[in-house]
Structure formats: structure tokens, C-alpha cells
Symmetry: C2
DNA sequence: CTCGATTGTCTAGCGGTGCTAGGGTTGCTG
DNA sequence: CAGCAACCCTAGCACCGCTAGACAATCGAG
């Protein structure tokens, strides 16, 4: 039976090779350069081999998106874990998120700009995506404020980060002001005390 | 010379026809369906005619993006004009923005998701894009707060709206909570008093 | 050990894409 | 009215995602 095991292992290896190569190519030359022909040539197999691992290009993108979600969640948790106090944790989360998007633009595209054929915000949503949101919720939930739904607050904060990430990446926002914008975001959405309260009402 | 004038007019008419048709097709069936062949057939000319008006498909997308920017600016100004008080104006702006994105998804895509070959955040940026940002700045600048740069605050608010718009459209956020998210956004970024102040520091 | 069956891979090709070269026809101009 | 210039279309290029079918290598049964 060892022969079969070897074959299974080799197949798994080749599937990893496909994903690693696709990701590499996308980061180097953009997703437009990731064609099935180019990808096949790089892995030194013919095109049909790709289709014995994935239904099509969409599914390759989707697989990389899932990888990315797991990595983003890990990066966020690592950054948050090293920070003391609610406000510091949120700040660390924001920087970790934006850094990830800036450092892995192709993967971020796979997650949010391209069609990877993944389901969102429903039951069939793959685990890594749910967990990615959970990683945000862990930190952001504690600063949502008393009468605010943590999930809703997390969605809003996430949307703001996503907007900053994408607009910056596409050249609509200048990168040099990223830090000031991030500080302002945390200031406003969380508050300076880090407890999500807003001070007394004035009117 | 009247013949030449007629020709110029006809050319301009045809260019409008191309843009109207492309936009219509994109809204009806998505940008994937906007191929040069399909578009040529709809305007009842052959493909090369398209290239006598635009350098390529990118430029068509770009032209529609500029139209969209002008319309978005107008929609925002109209909504803001009908509102009394800074906070009400910001709320109206937010809804107008999100409504525009939801009602004209293909145009919004042309503006922000697709490559229209346009320049951003620099001198060569086309006027409609600058004016679109200006429309946001007019209302948002007055609630930025004393020690906050109005431009920076506008960028942040815009990014949040953009994030909400795109994540909602792609199914990552559920539409039914849009109103609550928008209220929370305005509450946090502007403050309940509508003057951009945040209450006394607590720590 | 032989021989059929199964598995794996490749070549070749389909229908589509954006874009363009070159030939005609049309209609204006002197 | 003749000649010319402007205009538009047919045909085709190189590429895309994807797949059918031929071929080779490997496996398992007799």
C-alpha cells in the first residue's frame, strides 16, 4: 500500500506547488499574468493537470483566498496579543490588517476583489473566513460600547479598514498619510479612553 | 461648412450611444458581458468603430467612471442641501453615497473596482474626480473637529463608506443592517452633537 | 510472465476575448 | 462630374479558460 500513499502524497505536493506558484506569480506580476498556460508552464506540467486539482481558475483563487484569511487572522491575533489595553490592541489590529493588505496585495485581492467563488455571511461560509472575522471580533467586541452590538461594530470597523486598504492600494489615497488616518480611525471609532464610550451628549 | 458640423455632431452622438449602451449592458448583465463584440452589435456598428472613439475598453470604462463621479457628486450635494444641521447633512451624505453605490453597481465598479486608466490623488486627476471628493469635503470638512485636518477626515469617512459599499455589494455584509451600520458610523465619526468634538479625554 | 484494465498525462482544439491591418465603398469637394 | 479622402467593415492575430481524446505508463489478475 505504500505505493498508493506515495501517490497521494505526491498529488498533495503538486497541489501545494500550484498554489504557491500561482500566489508567487500573482504577487510578482499581478493576477492578470496568472493564466492557466503561464501557471502550467511554471509548474512544468500541462494545463489539464491544473483541472485535475481544481475545477478552474476561480477555485485556485478561492483556495489562495482561504490561505490568506488564515494568515490574516494569525497576523491580527499575533499583533493584538502583544499589546496592553483595549485601545492599544485595536491600534495594533488596525496596523496589522493594513500591513497585511499592503504586503500581500495579490492575496488581499483574491480575498476581496476577485471572484473566488466563495460564500460569505452565511452558513456555508468556509471556516477560515469565519475565523478571520472572529479574530477581529475578539478585539473589537470589547470596545464596541455598551449599547452597541459587537458584531455590528466589528463590521463597521472592518469596512473602514477595508476601504482604507483598497483605496490606498489603488492610488486613491496617498500612503504617507496612512498612519494619521489610522490614528484618527481608532480615535473616533473607539474613543480615547479605549472603552468605546463617547463622552456625555451635548445636545 | 454645415456638412462638417453635422458630422461632428453625429460622431458625438455615436460616442454617447456607445457609453449609454455600455453602461446599460454593464448594469443589466455585469461588466463581464460588456465585450467589444457585444457592444458593437448593440450599437449596430462593427468593432473597429469603437476604437475610433476610444483607445480601448479601459478608456470606455474610464469615461463611464467619470460620468459616475459627476453623478455621485450631484447626488450627494442634492441630499446634503435638503438637510438642516451638520449631523443631518452628514447622515444624508452617507445614505446618498451608499444608495448611489447600491443603485448603480456597475458604474460604481467602473469608478473603484475596474481599471479605467484614470489618475488619482495627483495633479493630472480629471476634474470630475476632484469635484467628487470636493463634494464630500464640503460637508465633512465642517464636522472634522478642531484639531483634525478636514481633508484627512474626509478621506477616512470616504474609506468607511467605500468599505461598506463594496463589502455589502459582494455579499460580505448583509444589506439589512446597512442602516444601523450607517447610524453607528455617523455617531462615531461625527459625534452626536454634530460638531466633531469627542468629549473630554478620560485618560 | 503476460496481458488487459486503469490511471495519469499530453497534444490539439473549441469558442471566446481585446485589438488591428488592409481593402472597399461612400459621399464630399474642387 | 472626376477624383479623392474619409469612413467603415471583413478578416485575422495572439491570447484567454477549458476539455476531448489519444497515448503511455503502471497495476493487478490469471
Amino acid at each position: 500500500m505504500s505505493v498508493q500513499e506515495r501517490k497521494v502524497r505526491e498529488r498533495a505536493d503538486r497541489e501545494r506547488l500550484i498554489l504557491v506558484t500561482a500566489r508567487e506569480l500573482a504577487e510578482q506580476q499581478g493576477w492578470d499574468a496568472v493564466t492557466t498556460r503561464q501557471l502550467a508552464e511554471r509548474i512544468e506540467y500541462s494545463q489539464p493537470v491544473l483541472y485535475s486539482h481544481f475545477r478552474g481558475k476561480r477555485e485556485i483563487i478561492g483556495a489562495i483566498a482561504l490561505e490568506g484569511a488564515a494568515e490574516l487572522a494569525a497576523a491580527v491575533r499575533a499583533a493584538v496579543g502583544a499589546a496592553k489595553g483595549p485601545r492599544a490592541r485595536v491600534t495594533a489590529l488596525a496596523y496589522a490588517y493594513l500591513d497585511f493588505a499592503a504586503q500581500n496585495p495579490a492575496v488581499y485581492d483574491a480575498m476581496f476583489q476577485l471572484d473566488g467563488g466563495l460564500a460569505f455571511a452565511q452558513d456555508e461560509t468556509p471556516e477560515p473566513l469565519k475565523d478571520g472575522f472572529a479574530a477581529l471580533l475578539e478585539t473589537l467586541g470589547e470596545v464596541a460600547g455598551d449599547d452597541v452590538d459587537p458584531g455590528l461594530f466589528t463590521e463597521l470597523f472592518w469596512a473602514a479598514l477595508h476601504g482604507l486598504a483598497t483605496l490606498t492600494r489603488s492610488g486613491r489615497l496617498l500612503p504617507q498619510d496612512t498612519e494619521r488616518r489610522t490614528q484618527l480611525l481608532v480615535d473616533r471609532l473607539v474613543g480615547r479612553d479605549g472603552l468605546g464610550s463617547r463622552g456625555p451628549r451635548r445636545s
